[in-house]
């Protein structure tokens, strides 16, 4: 039965770590803007061919 106490300690402390991570991410402004980063990650790194002929179809 002692093992249960140990398991509980582990599970609660892992959960507490996640809570702490959540708190930290919130403090650091991770949730300030929930839209722009989702778009930003889809942008292509600048292509050298940009200036010739931007294709009509593109991303959209």
């Amino acid at each position: 039965m002692k093992i249960i106490v140990l398991l509980i300690l582990i599970s609660v402390s892992i959960a507490a770590i996640f809570l702490a991570i959540f708190y930290w991410s919130m403090k650091n402004g991770q949730y300030d803007d929930t839209y722009t980063p989702s778009v930003r990650m889809l942008f292509d790194p600048s292509k050298p061919s940009d200036e010739q002929e931007p294709s009509e179809s593109g991303q959209k």
Partner: protein, 800 residues
């Protein structure tokens, strides 16, 4: 021929997507005007054409060429210092509000500004708030250059007097929001784990006593942060209202929470039982979810703006022989300032040199620009149309005719405290009933079995905690808020809906609310060829008379023509020779027509080579669907216009006999009118759009700002409504009324739960298991009931 005209219609500007009537071609791409073409050239020269890949026609029409000197004041060290959030020798950071941000391409371009100029280090867009943070190297690029660079590609930053304080204001509201989420997260974490440790209890498992003790004490440990941190809002609010000898909804909640915690702690400490910590933490968790659900905010909208966000930050002031920019707060009586075309007069002043037109439409509601000459008195907030003028300041900005409105007492006290919430009224009754039941129960058990009194009274207080009751209003109004938002009415908070339900009087402003004030309809009556239209457009472009600018903007034909002998006769008209033809554009007498009086529409006559060809009609159009809405509305209705009575015929036609129409109302008159109406027992909704309505909007029980573009300035209000939705106003009000009905039915539902729980508690049968089942069951069923009924009613009312 037909094919030709179809093609004409379908060609869209490659940059802004506006239909082009006369094309400018560049690199095989069509452009509607030289401005759009210029932006394209900048982008293609800097290898930024991917802008056009992410969205089709993403651009913003650039109507006026960017004048770098407009931003010159940003280079003044004292001003620069107030705007930048961080500054060192080789690094500065500034945050701009850019209302033009609207699509993915905007984000891409603004985040690649560094490719336009090597002095730009990095830029980051916050799309929901329409803000851009720009890092730049002050050794290579000035702040003014940063701003004009952004303006040159169509993203002009808007810098107002308010920007200085903005930083602190925003962080404060953000931290309140973040605090709530942190509290919610902690309550959720503790609730989940407490439930886990209560599992053996739920299943009735027999186990080692020592293990039970460990679980119980872990529950105590997990509940302490919930009591001391997550539930503090409720405890504090209850204490405050208790001190003021009032009962709001938080009082019974706080009593219930303390009873739950105290009883559970006593049970565990004395070894009596497992306690009710799962109910306790769950209660706080659900309550906080309700609070969070209700706190939906529209980040890109601002509901608390005053004149500060309308006025510019700085103005050119004469110092000796030179003109230097100063912050308008520092203006004093007697200072000389210079105002250019489309700039705003910062303080009441006298015009010294130059002449032009003042557009007061936003300040007084007067739709027609006023002509000003040397010696004229000009009021703060007017927008200059015409050549630069110099002014002598007569009053400081904060003491001006317009801004003195904000000295009215109505702006000093917080709006919300004037209203008693339906929820708090229910809570009052509820608290007395619960108190009565507890006393009767205590008396009964004192006789029957004195040892049980304390246990049963705490049980009653625990289950009487009106969690479901407290959740009804947040979920009903929170859902309603989202429904309204989907249909173009953005409310400041959920409490507004409750006040909307009681509205029996509507008060409208005219210019910009009833009419499209700043977007007049222009039609030509007569006969002109395309070439002649193009010539008129060009000629009107040289004039600064407001009618000329409007005609110039309305005509699409664009051809390069030679304009000779341009001559403008003030208050008469303009004469010019184009390609050998003589044009006269102006008043009836000027163009040689017979004049007849018609004040509702302005007419501009055109004659070519002495032959009268017709006239332009300039008319501010009434919004659509208004008349049926006014007919449907059964309550009191009034119109307060700052404009002259010229429009009264059209307005009385629109409003019919039952409405009260008042003209020539100044901002103070409007405020007083609304206040008088309230004093005679009416509950008033004010609908306005301009600074002149600010007082009335604030005074009214509900003040709604009507706007066609949520990006532009709106005065302080309870809600912002899209102009085209004004015809549905009565439906919105009906919907708000049904919200109140839903809240009341949900009250009954939650009272039923409480009645069941209390009867269990009174008879002495409450166990932790029953509490743990009843509590979430009542909360969840109330949430489901309100959500479903709000959506059902909203679909039925708004989809008609």
């Amino acid at each position: 021929m037909q094919v030709q005209s179809e093609v004409d219609v379908e060609v869209q500007c490659y940059h802004c997507g506006q239909p082009c009537q006369d094309l400018v071609w560049k690199d095989d791409k069509p452009f509607c005007c030289a401005g759009c073409q210029a932006v394209f050239e900048i982008l293609s020269a800097n290898n930024l054409c991917a802008y056009y890949d992410y969205e089709q026609n993403p651009g913003v029409q650039v109507t006026r060429p960017v004048d770098e000197s407009v931003y010159a004041y940003l280079n003044q060290p004292s001003i620069c210092q107030k705007l930048v959030t961080f500054s060192s020798e080789n690094f500065s950071r500034v945050e701009f509000y850019v209302p033009a941000i609207h699509c993915i391409s905007c984000i891409w371009l603004l985040e690649n500004l560094k490719r336009l100029n090597s002095g730009m280090l990095r830029s980051e867009v916050n799309f929901p708030r329409k803000r851009v943070i720009v890092d730049f190297d002050p050794r290579n690029i000035t702040l003014a250059r940063v701003a004009s660079l952004m303006a040159s590609v169509g993203y002009a930053p808007v810098i107002t007097l308010d920007d200085r304080q903005d930083k602190t204001k925003d962080t404060r509201s953000f931290s309140a929001d973040k605090k709530l989420i942190t509290k919610l997260a902690i309550a959720g974490f503790c609730f989940g784990n407490v439930m886990l440790f209560s599992f053996p209890e739920y299943l009735g498992l027999e186990g080692e006593e020592s293990l039970r003790g460990v679980f119980s004490w872990l529950n105590v440990l997990l509940s302490i942060p919930v009591l001391l941190y997550s539930s503090t809002d409720y405890l504090r609010s209850a204490w405050q209202s208790f001190k003021q000898r009032q009962i709001n909804i938080d009082v019974p909640i706080a009593v219930g929470l303390i009873a739950l915690f105290g009883r559970s702690f006593w049970e565990i400490a004395s070894g009596f039982g497992p306690g009710y910590f799962d109910s306790f933490t769950g209660l706080v968790f659900f309550l906080l979810i309700g609070r969070w659900f209700q706190s939906k905010t529209y980040q890109s909208l601002a509901f608390d703006r005053d004149f500060k966000s309308y006025f510019p930050l700085a103005v050119q002031k004469r110092e000796g022989d030179s003109w230097n920019p100063v912050i308008i707060y520092e203006l004093a009586k007697g200072d000389e300032v210079k105002i250019r075309n489309m700039e705003i007069v910062p303080a009441d002043s006298t015009l010294l040199t130059g002449e032009g037109f003042m557009d007061y439409s936003f300040v007084t509601g007067e739709s027609r620009p006023v002509r000003v000459v040397g010696g004229s008195h000009v009021y703060a907030g007017g927008r200059l149309i015409g050549q630069p003028v110099t002014l002598r300041v007569e009053k400081e900005t904060s003491q001006s005719h317009l801004t003195s409105l904000w000295n009215n007492a109505i702006f000093k006290k917080p709006n919300e405290s004037r209203y008693k919430k339906i929820l708090d009224m229910a809570a009052q009754r509820f608290t007395w009933i619960v108190l009565g039941i507890s006393v009767i129960t205590a008396a009964y058990w004192y006789v029957a079995d004195p040892s049980q009194v304390w246990l049963i009274v705490t049980a009653v207080l625990m289950v009487a905690c009106p969690c479901a009751l407290a959740l009804t209003a947040p979920f009903t109004y929170g859902n309603m808020l989202r429904q309204f938002g989907r249909h173009g009415l953005y409310l400041k908070n959920a409490d507004v809906i409750e006040r909307m339900a009681k509205i029996d009087s509507l008060v409208f402003d005219k210019t910009g609310t009833i009419t499209h004030g700043r977007r007049p309809q222009i039609s030509f009556v007569g006969d002109l060829s395309g070439d002649e239209m193009a010539a008129i457009k060009q000629v009107c472009g040289f004039s600064t008379h407001p009618y000329s600018t409007r005609i110039h903007e309305a005509l699409k034909q664009q051809r390069i023509v030679d304009v000779n002998d341009f001559k403008e006769t003030p208050s008469k008209g303009i004469a010019a020779t184009v390609n050998g033809d003589e044009y006269l554009i102006g008043s009836a007498e000027f163009a040689g027509a017979v004049s007849y009086q018609d004040v509702a529409t302005a007419k501009v006559y055109v004659s070519v080579n002495g032959e009268l060809r017709g006239y332009f009609q300039i008319k501010t159009a009434v919004r659509e669907n208004l008349k049926p809405m006014i007919n449907r509305w059964k309550g009191f209705i009034a119109l307060l216009s700052g404009d002259n009575a010229a429009d009264s015929g059209r307005m009385s036609n629109l409003f019919e006999a039952k409405a009260k129409l008042l003209f020539n109302q100044n901002p103070h008159d409007k405020l007083d009118y609304v206040a008088n109406l309230q004093q005679s027992g009416h509950t008033v909704m004010m609908l306005g759009d301009g600074l002149n309505d600010s007082g009335a909007l604030k005074q009214a029980d509900v003040g709604i700002a009507v706007t066609d573009d949520t990006g532009v300035f709106t005065p302080s209000c309870d809600g912002i409504m899209q102009g085209e939705k004004l015809g549905y106003l009565d439906r919105y009000l009906a919907l708000a009324k049904s919200a109140t009905t839903i809240v009341k039915s949900a009250f009954i539902l939650s009272f039923l739960y409480n009645a069941v729980a209390i009867s269990v508690a009174v008879s002495g049968h409450l166990t932790p298991l029953i509490a743990a089942v009843l509590m979430p069951l009542s909360s969840i069923s109330v949430v489901v009931f309100t959500t479903l009924s709000v959506n059902f009613v909203a679909i039925r009312t708004l989809k008609k």
